[in-house]
C-alpha cells in the first residue's frame, strides 16, 4: 500500500507553516533573556500605569464570551501560556506582559483602547508574531492586543476581485480562499502560514511578488482602523478610485501599530495566473547577475513575477540543514530564481525559451534548470524560501539586515561585511569566534538585499562591529536601512540613516495627533 501518500510531500501551505509557525513546545525550551536585560539602555517609562486586577476585570467584561484573554496576574495561569505573546519569532526578544487580549470584534478593540488610553496602559498590537525587528512583542509589560480571533473573510466581489476581510486572517488562508475563486492575494512571503493580513498591512510587507503586483500601498483599497482613543475610523471602501481628501489609510500602512490598530482591510486581488514557470540559474559573477536581470526583463516583460538572488553560502546552508534537492549539481558563486506568471502556457514558454537561449549563448549564466512540474517548482522555491530557517538552525542566532541598495553595489555590502568581521577576528570556524558565516540573498528585482550573519550565540561584539557600520554603509549609498522588515525595536535608533530630521520631526508631530498619550507601541519605531 505504498502509494504516493508515503512521500514526504508537503502541500505548499504546510511547508511554510512548518517554517514559520511557533514550533510548539520545543520553541520555548531555550528562551532568550528578557529584552530589558539585554538592552540596558531601555527604561520603562513611568508614565504608563501598571496592570491591576481591576483592569483585568474590565477587559474581561469587554471581551465577554467570544473573545479570550490570558491573565498573567491570576495565580492559576501557567506563566508559560504567555510565552507565545512575549517572545518573537527569532527567539531574540522577550517581553514581560502580564496580559494578552484576543478580542473578537472591532467594537471590543475600540473599548479596550479607550480604556487603556484613559488609564495610560501601554499596548502592543500583535498579529502572527512573525516580524523580524522585535516590533510585535512587548519590551516591558505592555498589554498584548492580539488580532488572531478577528479572522473572518467578509466579502469577495468576483468581478472586481476586491476582498474585504478582518486583520487576523492568516495570509495563506486568504490566498487559499481566493484560489478557489480563481484569484490570488497580491502578496506572498515565507511566513504566509502564520502571518496575518493586518500585520502585513501594518508593516507594509513586501514579499516575493512585489516586483509584479506592487506594494500594499497600492493594493489596499480601504481600511477600518481604531485610534488609540477608541475612535473607529471606517474607510472600508472597495473602490478602485476615491480621491476625496487626504488618504489616511496610507499612514497606517507601514505604521507598525504606532498610530492605532488596523481591524479590517479591503484589498484588490489579481486573477490567479494559470501558467507559472520557475527557472533556476547558476551564475558566475555578480556582474553577470546584473546582466541576467537586464536580459530577463527584456525578454519576459509583463510575465516576470519574481527575480530572486542567492549566494553560494546560502545554498550551502540549505544543503546542510534541509533535505531539499540540489537543482544544479555544480556550485556557482550566485544563483538566481526567475518566476513567470501568465495566462497562456505556450506564450510564456516561448518567452522563457528565448530568454534561456540568449543567456546561455552569451554565457551570462553557466547553467540552469526549469521546473518540469509543480513538485519541482516547489523545490526550487524552497531553495530560496528555506534559507531563513536554515540560518536559524546553523547557530542559535542570526543578525539580519534587510536593506535597499542601488543594484550595482548591492552585493558589495556582503563582501565588505565579511571582510570587516574577519578583520575584527569575529568570523571563523572555531567556537571562540561568534560568527559562523555571512550570507546574502534577496528580492533582487526590488533592489532588496537580506544580509544575514549566522552566529553561535548573539554577541555584543558582533553587534558593535556591525552597528552602526552597516547602516552607515547603506546611508552612504543612499539606500534604506530597512527595505521591508520595518523598524520595530531593532532599527528605531537608526532611522536617521534613511530619513531626514525634518521628516522624523513631522512623524512625531503626527504621532501626537493620533496618540497624544503615547500608549501605542512605546519604545519602538520612530
Amino acid at each position: 500500500m505504498h502509494s504516493l501518500q508515503c512521500r514526504r510531500v508537503i502541500p505548499f501551505g504546510k511547508l511554510s507553516l512548518s517554517l514559520h509557525a511557533p514550533r510548539n513546545a520545543l520553541r520555548f525550551v531555550h528562551k532568550p533573556a528578557f529584552t530589558f536585560e539585554s538592552y540596558k539602555s531601555l527604561h520603562r517609562d513611568p508614565k504608563y500605569a501598571k496592570l491591576s486586577e481591576q483592569d483585568v476585570q474590565v477587559f474581561k467584561s469587554i471581551i465577554g464570551k467570544d473573545g479570550s484573554l490570558i491573565d498573567g496576574l491570576d495565580k492559576s495561569t501557567d506563566p508559560a501560556d504567555l510565552d507565545a505573546f512575549n517572545i518573537d519569532w527569532m527567539n531574540k526578544y522577550r517581553g514581560k506582559t502580564q496580559l494578552a487580549l484576543k478580542p473578537k470584534t472591532t467594537q471590543q478593540v475600540s473599548e479596550i483602547l479607550k480604556y487603556c488610553n484613559q488609564k495610560k496602559l501601554a499596548v502592543v498590537p500583535q498579529g502572527g508574531n512573525t516580524g523580524l525587528v522585535g516590533g510585535s512583542v512587548p519590551v516591558f509589560d505592555e498589554i498584548v492586543l492580539n488580532l488572531g480571533l478577528m479572522n473572518q473573510i467578509h466579502t469577495f466581489d468576483e468581478i472586481s476581485g476586491v476582498i474585504t476581510l478582518d486583520s487576523g486572517v492568516i495570509l495563506e488562508n486568504a490566498d487559499n480562499f481566493l484560489a478557489e475563486k480563481g484569484y490570488m492575494f497580491p502578496l506572498d512571503l515565507g511566513a504566509k502560514g502564520s502571518c496575518q493580513v493586518g500585520g502585513c498591512a501594518a508593516t507594509a510587507a513586501g514579499g516575493l511578488r512585489l516586483l509584479r503586483y506592487g506594494s500594499l500601498h497600492g493594493s489596499i483599497l480601504g481600511m477600518e482602523a481604531v485610534l488609540p482613543d477608541g475612535t473607529i475610523l471606517d474607510n472600508l471602501v472597495t473602490l478602485r478610485k476615491d480621491n476625496t481628501g487626504l488618504d489616511i489609510k496610507q499612514l497606517f500602512i507601514g505604521s507598525e501599530g504606532y498610530l492605532g490598530v488596523i481591524t479590517k482591510l479591503s484589498v484588490i486581488c489579481p486573477k490567479r495566473p494559470s501558467s507559472t514557470n520557475v527557472a533556476f540559474f547558476g551564475v558566475p559573477s555578480y556582474e553577470n547577475v546584473l546582466k541576467a536581470f537586464s536580459e530577463t526583463r527584456s525578454h519576459l516583460t509583463e510575465i516576470l513575477s519574481a527575480f530572486e538572488l542567492m549566494d553560494n553560502t546560502s545554498q550551502t546552508l540549505v544543503d546542510k540543514y534541509s533535505g531539499t534537492q540540489r537543482p544544479l549539481e555544480d556550485e556557482h558563486p550566485f544563483y538566481v530564481l526567475v518566476e513567470t506568471q501568465g495566462s497562456n502556457k505556450e506564450h510564456d514558454e516561448q518567452k522563457i525559451t528565448a530568454l534561456v537561449e540568449d543567456l546561455l549563448e552569451k554565457e551570462i549564466i553557466s547553467d540552469g534548470v526549469l521546473a518540469q512540474d509543480e513538485s519541482q517548482l516547489r523545490v526550487l522555491w524552497e531553495r530560496r524560501e528555506g534559507i531563513t530557517e536554515c540560518l536559524a538552525k546553523a547557530g542559535s542566532g542570526v543578525y539580519k539586515y534587510d536593506v535597499s541598495l542601488p543594484l550595482p553595489v548591492l552585493y558589495d555590502l556582503v563582501n565588505d561585511t565579511k571582510k570587516r568581521l574577519i578583520e575584527f577576528n569575529l568570523l571563523d570556524d572555531t567556537p571562540e569566534h561568534p560568527v559562523i558565516d555571512v550570507v546574502g540573498f534577496g528580492h533582487m528585482g526590488d533592489g532588496n538585499l537580506h544580509l544575514n550573519i549566522a552566529v553561535r550565540q548573539f554577541d555584543k561584539r558582533v553587534e558593535k562591529c556591525l552597528e552602526p557600520w552597516v547602516y552607515e554603509w547603506v546611508s552612504r549609498h543612499r539606500g534604506s536601512i530597512s527595505a521591508e522588515h520595518g523598524l520595530g525595536l531593532l532599527k528605531k535608533p537608526f532611522v536617521g540613516y534613511s530619513k531626514s530630521k525634518e521628516m522624523i520631526h513631522l512623524m512625531k508631530t503626527l504621532k501626537n495627533v493620533f496618540d497624544p498619550n503615547g500608549i501605542m507601541l512605546p519604545y519602538k519605531y520612530v
Binding site: H2, S3, L4, C6, R7, V9, P11, N24, A25, S274, A279, F280, F281, Q325, P327, L328, T353, V356, E357, L360, D367, G368, V369, L370, A371, Q372, D373, E374, S375, Q376, R378
Partner: protein, 254 residues
C-alpha cells in the same frame, strides 16, 4: 556480458501536486486547463535508466522512452531526452482511451520491435492507481518481473532488485530479460539541465501507431461514476475547556 537495451514506458497524468476536480456529470476527473506532467513513478523509472547509462556506460546499448497518447505528450518525451535518455517515441493513439491491457499490448509489440531486454515502468499511475501494466506485460512476454523496486543493481548478467514489503525488505534476482516497476524510494529524479532542454526541443521524436505495432485498442471497462473520498476525522472527546487546553498542549498544538 550481453548488451542491455532499455525501454522505459511513461504516462502523462495530472500534475500530482494538484488537487483533482471531478467533472459536473461525476463520470471523470476534470482535466480541462489543468497542468499535466509525467507520472511521478514513471519519472523515477526514467531517472533509473539514466543512472544505469551513467554507471554501466557502454554496456547500455540503447535507452528508449515511449508513451502512448497524443502530440500533447511530446513535451514529456523531450524532457526525458533532456535528462539523458537516448531516444524517444510517441505511440499516437489519437482520442482513444487507454486501459492497462492495451498499454501492455503496445509495450509488448514495442519490446519485440526494438529488441529491448530490460523494461522499466512506474509501478502505478497516479490517476487510475491500477498497478497492472507491469504485471500484464511480464505475463505476455513470459519475463520475470520485479515490482515496487526500491533498489536496483546489475551485476554481470544478473538483475538484483530490493523491494520494500510489509515485513521489511526482500531481495530478488534473475537474469535478463526482465521487467522492473519502480517505487518511491528508488531514486529522486534530477532536474533537466537548461542547455539540454533547449537542445531537446529540436530533437527528432520517433512516431508509431497502434497499427504499426499490430495492436487493436479495445475498451473493456466503463467508468460508472467518480466521487470524492469520505473525509475521515480523528475525534477526541473532552469534557471541559481546561481539558481541551491540556489535550491541545499534549498534542503539541499549543
Amino acid at each position: 556480458m550481453s548488451k542491455i537495451r532499455i525501454l522505459v514506458g511513461v504516462k502523462r497524468t495530472l500534475d500530482y501536486m494538484l488537487k483533482p476536480r471531478i467533472n459536473a456529470t461525476k463520470t471523470a476527473v476534470d482535466l480541462s486547463g489543468q497542468k499535466m506532467s509525467i507520472n511521478p513513478f514513471c519519472d523515477i523509472a526514467v531517472e533509473e535508466a539514466i543512472r544505469m547509462k551513467e554507471t554501466l556506460k557502454n554496456r547500455i546499448e540503447d535507452t528508449l522512452v515511449v508513451t502512448a497518447g497524443q502530440t500533447s505528450s511530446e513535451p514529456i518525451l523531450r524532457q526525458c531526452l533532456a535528462k539523458g535518455i537516448g531516444r524517444a517515441a510517441l505511440i499516437n493513439v489519437g482520442e482513444k482511451e487507454l486501459e492497462p491491457l492495451s498499454v501492455a499490448k503496445l509495450l509488448k509489440a514495442t519490446v519485440e520491435k526494438e529488441k529491448s531486454n530490460l523494461v522499466l515502468l512506474g509501478k502505478q499511475a497516479i490517476d487510475d492507481d491500477a498497478h497492472q501494466t507491469g504485471g500484464m506485460l511480464a505475463a505476455m512476454l513470459g519475463w520475470p518481473q520485479f515490482t515496487s523496486a526500491s533498489k536496483v543493481r546489475i551485476e554481470g548478467d544478473k538483475v538484483i532488485v530490493t523491494r520494500e514489503i510489509d515485513g521489511g525488505e526482500e531481495t530478488l534476482s534473475s537474469t535478463l530479460p526482465a521487467i522492473i516497476t519502480t517505487d518511491l524510494r528508488l531514486n529522486v529524479p534530477r532536474f533537466a539541465n537548461l542547455a539540454k532542454v533547449m537542445k531537446a526541443r529540436k530533437a527528432p521524436l520517433g512516431k508509431m501507431s497502434p497499427e504499426d505495432l499490430g495492436v487493436t485498442i479495445d475498451q473493456r471497462l466503463q467508468t460508472v461514476s467518480v466521487s470524492e473520498p469520505v473525509q475521515k476525522r480523528q475525534n477526541i472527546m473532552v469534557k471541559s475547556v481546561d481539558e481541551m487546553v491540556k489535550t491541545l498542549k499534549e498534542l503539541g498544538a499549543l
